[in-house]
Amino acid sequence: MFDLSSLTDTDTDKDVVRIAISGEIDLQAAPDFKKRLYEAVGEGGTDVVLDCADLSYIDSTGLGILLGALKRVRLNNHHVFIRNLKDSIRKLFRITGLDKAFILEEAQ
């Protein structure tokens, strides 16, 4: 089970899509997660901030979906920032090299 909520922040100089992800992203959740994440990211025309404070589990299927979203955003020369990763999940980003592809921010 997972949840995803998003909003576009237009208060700053440039628009940012802020997405909060919670719960578990596994094989069962992957199709719905992919659909909702890609809807939230759209064509990738803005920076994206993923808040993962309440994300408790993600597998390689979920990491692949995040990478797909990153590719959309990078095509438009924007960035994906990931905040508040739990240590166990940060470790997966490091193992797969995704810590170099995304911009991982320390817990806030």
Binding site: D26, Q28, Y57, D59, S60, K91, I95
Partner: protein, 133 residues
Amino acid sequence: MSKVSQIVLSIPPKAEYVSLVRLTVSGVAHQCGFDIDAIEDIKVCTSEVLNKAIATEYGEGSDPLVLTFDLMPGSIAVQIGGNGLNGETLFASDADAFALAILDTLMDKVILSGVGSAAVRLLKSTERTDADG
């Protein structure tokens, strides 16, 4: 627990049962004395194997996947087989690079064999923690 105990779990090859396996892994790994980080590693790796086994649709797609947990003080072996699962071809695609990297890093040893009750064998001991750094 002074000798090998064995627990066998059989699940339908469907994504909705992978979370049940993760819960089971938590319990059995705790019995072996693993800390919470190591338990998380074993959960992640077992799930990665099941994900691929289910997504690849070996066999007729309806025969169960069978997980055998050999529990010893300070170590665990997770064997996964059934439903025609072939460990030698399970992670053969380039798209499996993430999963393979995760398995190789988080487990002490990963043995991929042909079709059988131990098509994939995952080994981990409480004594090696260098992957946690």
